[in-house]
Assembly symmetry: C2
Homo-oligomer: 460 residues x 2
C-alpha cells in the first residue's frame, strides 16, 4: 500500500502522536481557569503558540489556533475585509486558490463586495506584475496561496507581498501546502495554515494577523484566542500540531531534496512510459513531492479506482471523480487537460521503491482503462475520408467526447473540421487541451441546439 | 487532588481515549476521497454519526459535527434565523443561557435583529407560560438550555418546546450540560452540544437540525457536513466523541443516582458547616453532580485560590474571579448573592471520600478568607447607636461593600438606614441578596456623586 495524497492530508507524524497522547492527560482542562489543571493547560497552550509562531516567523500574540485551515481562511478573510471596510470592499484572489478562499470570496460577493480573480499562466502561477495591476484604491484585501495544492506550483508571494505593501493593502497568504517546508517569504500581513497538511492532527488551523493590520473579527465571538476563534480550545491537538510542525521543519531540508528527486523521476518518466500524457505545473518552482499529470482518453474515476486496487492512493482534479461535474478550477484556470488527471503527492518518508512500483504499474493501468473505453491507440493511422464531420457526444461524460474526436480526426482532410457536440462541462477544457497536445487547431465553441459545439480544424 | 469542575470540561473518558488512539491510525485521511484510506475514514465518520444520532434521538442525516459546542450554537442560531428571515427577525433566549448563545444573540442584535431575554426565577428556571408569552408573529427562533451550566437547574424544555411548536417557531436547545445524562425531552427543532462536557475530546460539537426546519447556513461553506460545518473533519476526535457518549450513557443511570447523593450531601451540609451561605439553584429539578453556593463576606478569587491549594478545583461566578468585573449573568438574572460564589460540579466517578474531604476543608478555608478580609463574625452583636449611617466603599471591590454594611447595620436603630456608596458592579446584586439573607429591608439604589448609593433599612 502506498499513500500518495499528502496534499489532502498527511498521515500523523510520530511526534504529533506522542504529543497528542501526552497532552490528553495534561491538557484537557479549560486554560481559562485558575486552578492547577487550568494553569497546566494554559502553559501547554502558551508553549504551543510560541513554537508555532517561531515556525511561522511571527510573534506569539499574532497567532491564534482555529479549528481548521478552512476556518482560519474564512475568519482571516472576513476579519481583514471588515477591518478595512472604510477603505472599500474590493477583494483580490488568484484564480487557483484553495476552495476555502474562493468560498470566502463568493460570500463576500454575496454580501455586496467585489472580487477580482487574477488569472494564472499555463504553469499555474500568477504574474506578479499582473497581480499588482489589480490593486485599487478601494482594495481591502488581497489573497495569494504560497503554493498550489493541485499542481504544486509555487506562487511569487514575496513579489506580490511587496506590491501589496507598497499599495498599503494587506496580503493574506494561504500557506497550507508549504508551511511544512519553511517560512513564507516576503512582507505578508496575514497567514493561514492547516496542521493535518504537515502531519499534525486534524482539528487545528493557524491564523496569523501581523501587528498593525486592521482586523475586525466577524460573527459572535468570545474571550478565547484573542477574540478571533471562539469555542473551547482543542488543546491536545494544538499541542500535537505545534510539536509536529517543529519536527517536520527539523527534517524538511533533507526530506525536500529526497522528495524532489522522487517527484522529478515521476515527472520525467511518466511521459516516456505513458503515451498522450500532459504533465502540468511549473517544472522548477514547485513543492517537493507533488506531481500532476493528465492522461488523454482516460476516465479519471476509473483510473483512480484501478490505481487504488493496485495499492496506490492518489487524487484527481478530473470532473469524473468529483460530484460537481466540472473539472478542477485550477486545471481550468491553467487551460490544461483535465481528463484522466492524477495528482501524486508524496508524504515525507515515502520509500523510493514505492515510486518505482508506481511507475511500473501506471502504464498498464492507463492502457487498460483506455482499452475499456475504446480510446484510439496513440499511433493509430486512420483512413482519410473527405469533408467535415460532426461527432454527437451529447449525454456522454468525460473522456468520451475527446475519444470520439480523436477517433474521427483522421477521417477529415487537412483543413477540414470536426464539430463535437457535447453537454459535458469538461469538454470545454479538454478539447482545446487535446488540440494543443495534438497540434490541431481549436477554432472555438458555439451554442448548439443541445449542449455546445466545439469546432476543431485538422492541420496535421 | 480532586477536580470538581466537570461543568467546564470533563476529564477524558477511558473509552474516548481508546477510540481516539485507534482512529488516529485509521481515521486521518480525507473521508471525501475514494481510495481505501478515504473510504475507511468515511466508514468511521458514518458510524460515529449513527452512534451520536442514536444517543441524541434523531436521524443521522439531521446531525453534523462541528469544531465545538460554541460553534454548533453560533452556526445553529445563525442558520435558523436566516432560514426564517421572511417570518421576521425576533429571537428569544433565556437570560441564563451559556455565553455562546448570548453572544449569538448580541451578533443578531448588532445586525438589526431584535432579542427578547426571558427572565428566570430565583432558582434559575424560566416559567414556561412566561416564555410562551414572548412568542410573536415575527419570532424566527427561540433558544433554551436544557439545564443551566452555573447552578445546575433544569429548564422546562418539553413545555417550552410544546409552546413553540404550537406557535410554529423552532426551538434550539443548548444541551451541552445534560446530553451525557439522557436525551432532551420534548419536540425541539434544533440541538447543540459539546463533547468535552461528556468526557469526549475537545474539538467536537454537535449540531442537530430536524428535518423540515428551515435552515440556511451562514458564511462561506463547503461540501462537508451537509454544508453546515466547513473544514476538514476532526475525525479521530469525532469517533472518540461518539464512542464516549455511548459509554457515558451506558453508565448514566447508576452514576446519576450516586452523584445526586453526593451533591445533595454538599447542598445539605454546606449551610450547616459554613455560616452565612446561600445555596442556589432548584433543589430538585437539577443536574446530577452540580452544586452552587455563595458565601457572604468572601472574595471569590481568594477562596478559589485557597481551595486549589487544598487540592480542590472548583469554579466561580463571582466577579472577583473573572476579568469582566461583573458577576456572572446567571446569578444576576436569578437575583442571588454572587460574592464568594463556588460551583462544584462532580465528574462521573468522583469518590465519596473526595466530597467528604471537601466538606472538611471548606469551613476552615472560608473562615480564613473572611478573617483576612475583616468580615463580621456570624453572631457578632454590635453596640447600637442612634441615627442613619453612610458607608463609603468607593473604590473597594466585592466583598468589601457588603462586609462594611454588615459591620455597621447594628450601629443604627431598627427603622434606621445605612447608605452604602459603591462603584463595584457586584454590589448591585449582593447588597439586596444580603438583605434577603439577613432579614433587612433593601430600599433601593440611587445615583450618588461617585458610584451608586444603596439604601438599606434595619428592620430586625
Amino acid at each position: 500500500m502506498a499513500y500518495f495524497d499528502a496534499a489532502s492530508a498527511a498521515p500523523l507524524h510520530p511526534v504529533a502522536r506522542q504529543a497528542l497522547l501526552a497532552s490528553l492527560d495534561e491538557g484537557w482542562a479549560d486554560p481559562a481557569r485558575l486552578y492547577r489543571e487550568g494553569r497546566r493547560a494554559r502553559l501547554l497552550l502558551d508553549a504551543a503558540r510560541e513554537a508555532a509562531a517561531e515556525a511561522v516567523g511571527c510573534r506569539a500574540d499574532e497567532l491564534v489556533f482555529t479549528p481548521s485551515g478552512t476556518r482560519a481562511v474564512h475568519s482571516g478573510v472576513a476579519g481583514a475585509l471588515a477591518g478595512r471596510r472604510r477603505v472599500g470592499s474590493h477583494l483580490i484572489v488568484s484564480a487557483v486558490e484553495h476552495s476555502s478562499v474562493l468560498h470566502a470570496a463568493e460570500a463576500h460577493e454575496a454580501g455586496g463586495g467585489t472580487v477580482t480573480r487574477v488569472p494564472v499562466d499555463r504553469t499555474g502561477a500568477v504574474d506578479p506584475a499582473a497581480y499588482a495591476r489589480t490593486l485599487r484604491g478601494d482594495t481591502a484585501l488581497a489573497c495569494l496561496q504560497s503554493a498550489n495544492h493541485e499542481v504544486g506550483t509555487e506562487q511569487p508571494v514575496a513579489e506580490v507581498a511587496g506590491a501589496c505593501r507598497e499599495a498599503g493593502v494587506p496580503l493574506l497568504v494561504d500557506a497550507a501546502q508549504s508551511l511544512a517546508w519553511g517560512k513564507v517569504p516576503g512582507d505578508w500581513s496575514l497567514l493561514a495554515a492547516s496542521a493535518h497538511k504537515w502531519g499534525g492532527p486534524s482539528g487545528v488551523g493557524l491564523l496569523v494577523v501581523r501587528k498593525g493590520v486592521r482586523f475586525a473579527p466577524q460573527g459572535p465571538g468570545d474571550e478565547r484566542e484573542s477574540g478571533r476563534a471562539p469555542g473551547f480550545e482543542n488543546l491536545p491537538a494544538i499541542v500535537a500540531a505545534a510539536a509536529s510542525l517543529r519536527a517536520v521543519r527539523a527534517e524538511a531540508e533533507a526530506e525536500a531534496v529526497r522528495l524532489r528527486e522522487l517527484a522529478e523521476r515521476i515527472r520525467a518518466r511518466v511521459p516516456a512510459l505513458v503515451p498522450d500524457v500532459e504533465v502540468v505545473g511549473d517544472p522548477v518552482r514547485r513543492l517537493p513531492g507533488v506531481v500532476t499529470f493528465s492522461c488523454l482518453y482516460v476516465d479519471g474515476e476509473t483510473l483512480l479506482h484501478e490505481l487504488d486496487r493496485a495499492g496506490f492512493s492518489v487524487s484527481s482534479g478530473s470532473s469524473c471523480t468529483s460530484s460537481t461535474l466540472t473539472p478542477s478550477h485550477v486545471l481550468k484556470a491553467m487551460g490544461v487537460l483535465s481528463e484522466g488527471n492524477v495528482r501524486v503527492s508524496l508524504p515525507p518518508g515515502t520509500p523510493a521503491e514505492d515510486v518505482e512500483r508506481f511507475l511500473e504499474v501506471l502504464p498498464g493501468t492507463v492502457a487498460a482503462v483506455r482499452e475499456k473505453l475504446g480510446a484510439p491507440a496513440a499511433a493509430e493511422a486512420a483512413p482519410r475520408t473527405g469533408g467535415d464531420l460532426v461527432v454527437d457526444a451529447i449525454g456522454r461524460r468525460c473522456p468520451v467526447p475527446v475519444i470520439e474526436l480523436a477517433k474521427v480526426i483522421g477521417d477529415v482532410p487537412v483543413g477540414g473540421t470536426v464539430r463535437v457536440l457535447s453537454d459535458d462541462e469538461a469538454a470545454r477544457l479538454d478539447i482545446p487541451a487535446w488540440c494543443e497536445m495534438r497540434g490541431q487547431e481549436y477554432v472555438g465553441e458555439e451554442e448548439a441546439e443541445k449542449g455546445t459545439a466545439y469546432l476543431v480544424r485538422r492541420i496535421s
